[in-house]
């Protein structure tokens, strides 16, 4: 008995030592950040810059007996608000006289978090701690999430040393351009947040209320011989979800594939045959990519089917993935075998690599 106890103590000591050593790693700082974003009460104003535009938003985040409530209010005069309670998001769009109610598949926060285990497993990013600096009048650690190639974006995070909150976040291209940026200009962590702070300020009288229809997203059986895959994927991308849906604006069911490298996700939509001749002779490089902020979207025709790829990745990546779609093919080259239908975003709950 004593020996077992001694052994356990020794093991515990080792874990503590490991934790202490690991506590200073970039991974642990990001884990701290995720924890702060998820579990602390906070209220602040941040500027979200993307694609040449700038938006100012106020966020309120409260955790009360395990129930998460969040509210984001646009401060640009549109009066738009997004309120999340548990897994329901209600979007108020007073400039459209519209309210949209939806449920999220997971308890995704309104503010991004980077999931450390995914990062660690993907092998496509290197985490590095840069020189600490002061930002917003606070001492901040600077963590870089650097992609190993130009097929994905990287991050730079200024994490407040004391609270773990990300004071500033940048999404960067491999050339170091800032694709997207988020800076807190005001941030408080109150012990209590009253309910009134999480109520909408919009009077939705007479508005149109829309809710996700039961029908949307229903899986439809697909004939086995027309299974689509991306034949050649950029390194690290794996299939993480597949479904067939009926979506408005299309005729017939649409195959929706999701590829992820652990951090970034690309959706590929393959529509039913549209009867057009195959667009042979179009070089991949000439496909024009549409960009909305950090999102790139491209559409092409493969074997008579319209293929659209959309993701928060550089334009070349969606081009490459869309162009590589094949029907009934086995993935070759650098693509990896299809995984089971795992959601691209892991379940909530603490997933930290350290005890």
């Amino acid at each position: 008995m004593a020996r077992t106890e001694g052994h356990l103590l020794w093991l515990a000591g080792l874990l503590v030592a490991a934790a202490a050593a690991a506590a200073e790693s970039p991974q642990s700082f990001i884990a701290q950040m995720d924890e702060a974003l998820r579990n602390r009460n906070y209220q602040g104003v941040f500027v979200h810059e993307h694609g040449g535009q700038s938006e100012t938003l106020r966020i309120t985040h409260r955790v009360d007996n395990g129930q998460v409530s969040e509210r984001i209010v646009s401060l640009d005069g549109s009066g738009r608000e997004y309120i999340r309670r548990g897994s329901q998001i209600t979007s108020y769009l007073p400039d459209q006289n519209l309210v949209v109610v939806d449920t999220t598949p997971d308890a995704g926060l309104l503010l991004s978090e980077l999931r450390v285990p995914d990062l660690a497993n993907s092998g496509q990013y290197r985490l590095r701690e840069l020189a600490a600096t002061r930002t917003s009048g606070r001492q901040a650690r600077v963590i870089a999430v650097e992609p190993l190639d130009a097929m994905r974006y990287g991050y730079r995070l200024w994490i407040d040393e004391v609270s773990g909150m990300p004071l500033k976040t940048q999404l960067l291209s491999s050339r170091g351009e800032v694709v997207e940026q988020l800076i807190f200009t005001d941030l408080r962590l109150p012990a209590k947040i009253p309910d009134s702070e999480l109520q909408p300020a919009v009077d939705a009288q007479g508005y149109r209320w829309l809710r996700r229809g039961v029908a949307a997203g229903t899986a439809v059986g697909i004939p086995a011989d027309s299974a689509w895959v991306a034949a050649e994927l950029p390194p690290g991308f794996r299939l993480t979800a597949r479904s067939v849906q009926v979506l408005p604006g299309t005729s017939g069911p649409v195959t929706h594939l999701v590829y992820s490298d652990g951090l970034a996700s690309v959706s590929v939509f393959v529509e039913s045959a549209i009867g057009e001749p195959a667009s042979g002779g179009v070089r991949q490089e000439t496909l024009a990519v549409t960009r909305i902020g950090s999102t790139s979207a491209v559409s092409t025709t493969v074997q008579g089917h319209r293929v659209t790829a959309i993701g928060e990745v550089p334009p070349e990546t969606v081009r490459a993935i869309a162009s590589s779609l094949r029907a009934g093919a086995e993935p070759v080259g650098r693509g990896l075998p299809e995984m089971g239908p795992v959601a691209a975003r892991p379940a909530t709950g603490r997933n930290y690599p350290h005890p």
Binding site: S91, D95, P248, G249, T250, A288, T301
Partner: protein
Amino acid sequence: MSHEQLESQLSAMYDGELPAAECELLSRRLAREELLRARWSRYAMIGAVMRSEPVAAVSGDFARRVSSVIAADAGRFSLRRVAAQWWKPASGAALVAGVAGIAILVLRSGLPVQAPALAAVQPTVAAPATVAPPLATLRPDSGYALAAAPSREPASYVVPPRSLGADVDVPASLASFVVAHSEYSPPLVRRHLLSAWIGNDLVQTSPPSSSVLFNDAGAVPPANGTN
């Protein structure tokens, strides 16, 4: 009132600590006295320097120029006009998008499209506890014309301005896909995609290719009736 008392009032009003009645009197003096306004401006500079905020030297008549433009505007300008200036649907199409998975209503050239996946329901969510405070009724010569009886009239909201970029005509299918993908986007992006679609906010990079893309001039294929 001595000049010093006036200046003391100015200092208090600068901090928002002067009672309203005195503010009104002081404002009238300020409107007449250039030197008092100059002092106010120097108070601002003192604060900025103390906080190490970057400031630039500015021409003495800068504020005057701004107020003369505003005065010229008065009477011609109204809230409704603000909304009209910024809201400009592309090719008569209005896109309304929801968060991930919600179907999209598209009106193109006045043609309504079936959108069966959308369930227009009676509000099931409790009405918000707070109501947006009505905007104050304004005097007619103030440059703002606001509909009377603000308690019944909803506040006017401004549609966020579109970013620079081509006026891209967007097919309904792309809108559906963007929304379906947004479920896998980072949450902040998801929220932005929602806003972007409503503002029809797209930037097209070059080179454009003729073989593909988002310039369908054809009719929207009828949305599938049922699932």
